[in-house]
Amino acid sequence: MSQNYFNTLSLREQLAELKKCRFMHMSEFSDGVAALKGKKMVVIGCGAQGLNQGLNLRDSGLDVSYTLRAAAIEEKRQSWKNATENGFTVGTYEELIPTADVVLNLTPDKQHTHVVNTVMPLMKQGACLSYSHGFNIVEEGMQVRDDLTVIMVAPKCPGSEVRAEYVRGFGVPTLIAVHEDNDPKGEGLALAKAYAVGTGGHKAGVLMSSFIAEVKSDLMGEQTILCGMLQTGSLLCFDKMIAEGVDAGYASKLIQYGWETVTEALKYGGVTNMMDRLSNPAKIRAFDLAEEMKAIMRPLYHKHQDDIMTGHFSKTMMADWANDDKNLLGWRADTAETAFEKTPAGDMEISEQEYFDNGILMVAMVKAGVELAFETMTDAGIIADSAYYESLHETPLIANTIARKKLYEMNATISDTAEYGCYLYNHACVPLLGDFMTGIKSDVIGRGLDVEDMGVDNSRLIEVNAAIRSHPVEAIGAELRGYMSDMKKIV
């Protein structure tokens, strides 16, 4: 097995790479897709990312075709159907890779080593190899031929949204990076920018980062706050409501759509705005609950970040890959059997505000998870901008997949890497919050506060508001949302 690339770097180099993250200005994309115009782009893999990115690139006037394994073509598998029904040229690696100026590797992480080793000898001299995720380079230490340029273009949304937003005339926030060990002609950045324009990403905001910063922050975010916290929170909150005698259909609905509703407030105005949607007494309760949970969960967040930094996480996961995903598939099956997953949402109406009023604990969990993930990442040397995107910014996206498909499908939709980390987190966090949950009643989850008087103590409220607003994730969030608003939806 190759050596973990990150671990080959000196501490100073590691910190320098982790710190890379810069919000790019719209004017940096004035060349449009010119750097890719007339070049032959060949996509490997035709799943959700592969297909949808390809559709966007082609609609931007670029030359896109797909290469699949010979077996996938012969058996007319789904990936073959996806590509041909959409009018793309499809060919084997041998047919298409040698003609490609840019090879877009959009296969799942776990296939990267095999795929890249297979296509690399076929690639023409001086071509470009592009990734959507840096795992293969950073964690598996893939060594790419010296003449090849290696870039990353990572839309921060599921493939279906990458397409839907493009069709609307917009795009999704996108992270780009150049692997500096593989930029022989110094054209990596120009290619990555043109690629981001081709998928529409430049309209929604592009972050210039590094392979390392992307991997280490992405892994941390997805396994803790994004997927892990929402999974753990869903299971704990549901079971608590049932124990408290809340109607099962109502409980299921409150959770399935509640994450989406409360994190929508997060998207618009950060933790501050999400908390401000609560009444004053509820806000103070949520604040106290979040503080309590942060104290309990902090060591777990530290462990996740440490395991990601040392490579322990990826090593463990890769061992499971080698073991036919035994753990992953077992845990996925367990998720399908949980009470929350098996209880369909009721058909009662829940108003937008009611999701806040009756979901105080959920709001507290989002606050605790976002802040802890952000604090842990920045403590580890990841720059605040990256930490913001990989925690707060992406939470509504995952919440949205839960609203559509609940946990089992959420896990099937996200990458295997995210899913694996999510289960690790969940298995540790559920017992960790056990004692805490015994003290929870339906006033903070399911029924809303039972208070006659909405009054609160002035000085306590001021203290709580100040604490919420002065958290560092709020400062960077306000700044980045400010940049984005120039190019973002004008609402």
């Binding site: 609609d59 670029l62 959409n86 069709v167 609307r168 005339g169 917009f170 120039d486 973002k488 004008i490």
Partner: protein
């Protein structure tokens, strides 16, 4: 007993018929008749006074005493007076009938005449000849004549027209006081002058009674208001943005807008259509029809570039051979597009104003800071649609019909060479259907845009469309 018109067709003269009117005036109801000019509002009111020649159908329950005030009644009376003059064989100058006599002719209550004369402050002209009065004075005389007849039904065609402000207010109050005892039907051009006692509104167009709306149904009343506005406004389709940023690159007028050669859409083994040749020249209006599933929307999306198989077809659009390195936005800039699916796509929170402006950018939602010119053009469109006051409301809070109107405005804002309307009336009720058609007709009449209109009924077509394609 209610007055009832059943499937009534009435001929007025060679030029005008009221057709198949079904209308019931219950006691206690007061009606306002609205509609565009020349629609037949006055004719419908006049039917209640026995005017016109019944060609078919039935009218029943008309009360014995009907008071009628209208310009026609006024003109008739003046004509009669003039005729008297002509008929005078004696070589003396006739003074004509004095007002006093004109008033007494039909009155059933002479005391009431005196009261009304005092109210209208007409005492000074009681002895003058009727035909020498000014228009406003004549109108007041007609009103007093009708009111003093103690009618059971009062038919007032534009009663406030020609009255000064003070008299207008007085008459309004008088009618309000009268309304508990006398049924009133009035024709008004302006819905916003509708007195409070009116309980029901009728809408007439092209000799047909198209809508009957309860005064209490605010939503329907607002739609009626808007329909009337669109039908009567002098406003034209606003110009497009002349600034360079939004100016479309010019097309070669010698080339067709669209040319499909042997076009096909196929999935797996299913062929939706194949071997289709179709050319749309600049300014040609087309109607595309065919049953559900025949591929109408698929065909359109080959043109708009929304169908991925546009890359495996021989398609020439707006100067580009598809698949030659053009971007989809270079195609879309020449197209305005409206469909039900597009309406569903508008789930994001966008203001009414910004939906219109987004048409300049071919985006769903607005992702650019709009220029002052763009904002000004949006305002002009809102004026045309009668939606000025709603500019800042969220799009998704509007009624379905209003959303459709806005999407048409969005599609037209840049005056595209091709406007595609994919079943633009789908899912709309009759009133909103007419609103949409009124807007489309305005567009067809006053712009150089080629309209491609799609529906699944080949017979249901729009004025001005002369080319047809059936799938």
């Amino acid at each position: 007993m209610p007055t009832s018109l059943q499937n009534l067709t009435v001929n007025f003269d060679e030029r005008f018929d009221l057709k198949n009117i079904d209308w019931r005036l219950e006691s206690g109801q007061h009606w306002l008749i609205s509609g565009p000019n020349g629609a037949g509002k006055s004719a419908l009111a006049a039917v209640l006074t026995g005017a016109g020649k019944v060609a078919s159908g039935e009218i029943s329950g008309l009360p014995q005493h009907v008071g009628w005030v209208s310009f026609e009644a006024q003109a008739e009376l003046i004509a009669a007076e003039l005729k008297k003059d002509d008929a005078d064989i004696m070589d003396v100058i006739s003074e004509g009938t004095p007002v006093r006599e004109i008033l007494a002719q039909e009155s059933r209550d002479l005391v009431l005449i005196d009261e009304l004369v005092a109210k209208f402050e007409l005492g000074y002209l009681l002895d003058r000849a009727f035909r020498k009065l000014s228009t406003g004075e004549t109108r007041k005389v007609m009103l007093i004549r009708a009111l003093s007849n103690q009618p059971d039904l009062l038919v007032l065609d534009e009663p406030f027209e020609g009255l000064d402000v003070k008299t207008h207010a007085m008459l309004h109050d008088y009618l309000s006081a009268l309304s508990p005892n006398v049924q009133i039907v009035m024709v008004l051009n302006r819905l916003d002058e509708c007195p409070d006692f009116v309980t029901d509104v009728a809408y007439v167009e092209q000799g047909k009674l198209l809508h009957q709306v309860k005064r209490t149904d605010q939503a329907a009343l607002a739609e009626l208001h808007q329909l009337l506005h669109l039908k009567t406004t002098d406003l034209e389709i606003p110009p497009t943005d002349p600034t360079a940023e939004n100016k479309l690159p010019p097309l070669d007028p010698a080339q067709p807008l669209v040319r499909l050669t042997g076009a096909a859409i196929k999935y797996d083994d299913t062929v939706i259509f194949e071997g289709l040749d179709w050319t749309i020249e600049p300014g040609e209006h087309w109607q595309l029809s065919g049953p559900n599933g025949s591929g109408k929307t698929g065909l359109l999306s080959l043109i708009t570039g929304d169908h991925p198989q546009c890359y495996v077809n021989d398609i020439f659009v707006f100067g580009f051979q598809r698949g030659s390195g053009e971007s989809i936005w270079q195609i879309k800039q020449y197209i305005g597009y409206v469909s039900t699916a597009l309406q569903w796509e508008h789930r994001v929170s966008v203001s009414v104003r910004n939906v219109i402006i987004s048409g300049f950018y071919d985006s769903i939602g607005l992702y650019h800071k709009p220029s002052e010119t763009e904002k000004a053009i949006a305002v002009q469109w809102l004026d045309l649609l009668g939606m000025t006051a709603r500019a800042d409301e969220p799009f998704n809070k509007l009624s379905y019909g209003d959303q459709r109107l806005l999407l048409i405005a969005r599609a037209m804002v840049k005056h595209p060479p091709l406007l595609i309307l994919d079943e633009p009336c789908l899912g709309l009720d009759e009133m909103n259907r007419q609103l949409v058609l009124a807007l489309i007709e305005k567009i067809c009449a006053s712009s150089g845009t080629a309209v491609l209109y799609v529906n699944h009924h080949p017979h249901d077509h729009i004025k001005g469309i002369e080319h047809f394609l059936s799938l």
